[in-house]
Subunit: 207 residues, 2 copies
DNA sequence: CGACTACTCAACAGTGTGTCGACAAACGGA
DNA sequence: TCCGTTTGTCGACACACTGTTGAGTAGTCG
């Protein structure tokens, strides 16, 4: 995902790449991605605009690299989680959701910019789509296992349910992070999301 | 929301405004909003680029006008719905969700473009945010009423729940319409969303 | 029929992107 | 140690699109 050049020459080389990434994350904390020009990134890293193109082929590619590290962090965090659905399903689901919230909150600026860029950039879109799919597949597996052991009732297709819940998390978190419009206070979003996940997976409708 | 000039003169005047809107919706069906230039819109309406600025002050304003009509259609459709939560709550919720799906599906191109533009344009953002808020408030009222009459159990804050469910609908529908990544087949999305709404509002978690 | 309003566009100015070609500086052999 | 290759750097250019200005034309109304 990241284009590294061999470490040599001049003043830095590889450090310049990191400087550009650091500048991008810093500037994203101050203004929107659209309002940051390649000139700004280059200046922040102490190089000229044409030189920027030696390291990245576009502004979007910088964001892609930043998003990649955030997603890797999520993957890492989720993999390290204790996974014990049989003993304490509620707490286990909750911890997973919490991991997402914490990582994306810690990189709020990058997350917001990536959510916007996803809409117009094919690479960002593909990276995000792939991650969402893997999280949805992971959730699907667990829902199926919970149904198999009789802990969760049958209902709509497990994969559809998993996709809808993951998309909900994405959107609710995105609204919380960007502070937009109808949003849930960040302090309560974990409770709200957990509750909906649990009721949708384990609950039934009295009819 | 719409800037009308008095009907007079030349060849059209007011018709040109409509021609621009029609051109925009047509081109949005063929390519992305970013890939449509003001030149393209002007050409489609048979005027020059500077003349475009006589009718709209920017490309975004054209999209705003289109989104406005779509939202008005939703409001109209939802207001016309039979609202009988006491007799048939499930069917009543389902019909509301169905109305959203149908209207936004009928204007898929505009909906997709608006969801993208929302991220960078303050006016589109505000219009969408206001609408989402009113739908969330509407949902909140009903949830509270259902809890008051004992049909729905207590749980997380009704407004938080309403916001999360509305955001889920937005995101799931948006994924369906754009055909993106982890998405729910459009034919099944009504079932999936209804099921989650009902379980979240009326269901309980056994523990 | 003359002034007024609605409308139109050629031409200009500005801003940001991406490329090209010349050049500098380290390194790795012969 | 010198010389070619790789790595890095940037001035200057071409381009695409946005937004503005100012001069004009065509209907319409007193």
């Amino acid at each position: 995902m990241a284009h590294r050049r061999s470490r040599t020459a001049r003043l830095s080389g590889d450090d310049r790449q990191l400087a550009l990434l650091a500048t991008a994350e810093k500037l994203l904390g101050e203004r929107s991605f659209d309002d940051i020009s390649i000139e700004d990134l280059a200046a922040g890293a102490g190089i000229s605009r044409p030189t920027f193109y030696f390291y990245f082929s576009s502004k979007d590619e910088v964001l892609l690299a930043l998003l990649d590290t955030v997603i890797a962090e999520v993957r890492h965090r989720v993999a390290a989680l204790p996974r014990d659905f049989e003993l304490e399903p509620a707490a286990t689901w909750r911890r997973s959701i919490e991991a997402f919230i914490e990582v994306f909150s810690a990189h709020r600026a990058v997350s917001n910019a990536a959510m916007t860029a996803r809409m117009r950039n094919a690479d960002v879109h593909a990276l995000w789509a792939t991650s969402m799919q893997s999280w949805a597949d992971y959730s699907t597996e667990i829902i199926l296992a919970e149904r198999a052991r009789g802990a969760a009732p049958d209902g709509i297709d497990a994969h559809d349910l998993a996709v809808a819940l993951n998309l909900m998390n994405e959107r609710v978190l995105s609204a919380s992070l960007s502070g937009d419009a109808p949003r849930i206070d960040q302090a309560r979003s974990l409770d709200v999301l957990s509750s909906i996940w649990l009721r949708s997976i384990y609950g039934t409708t009295p009819d």
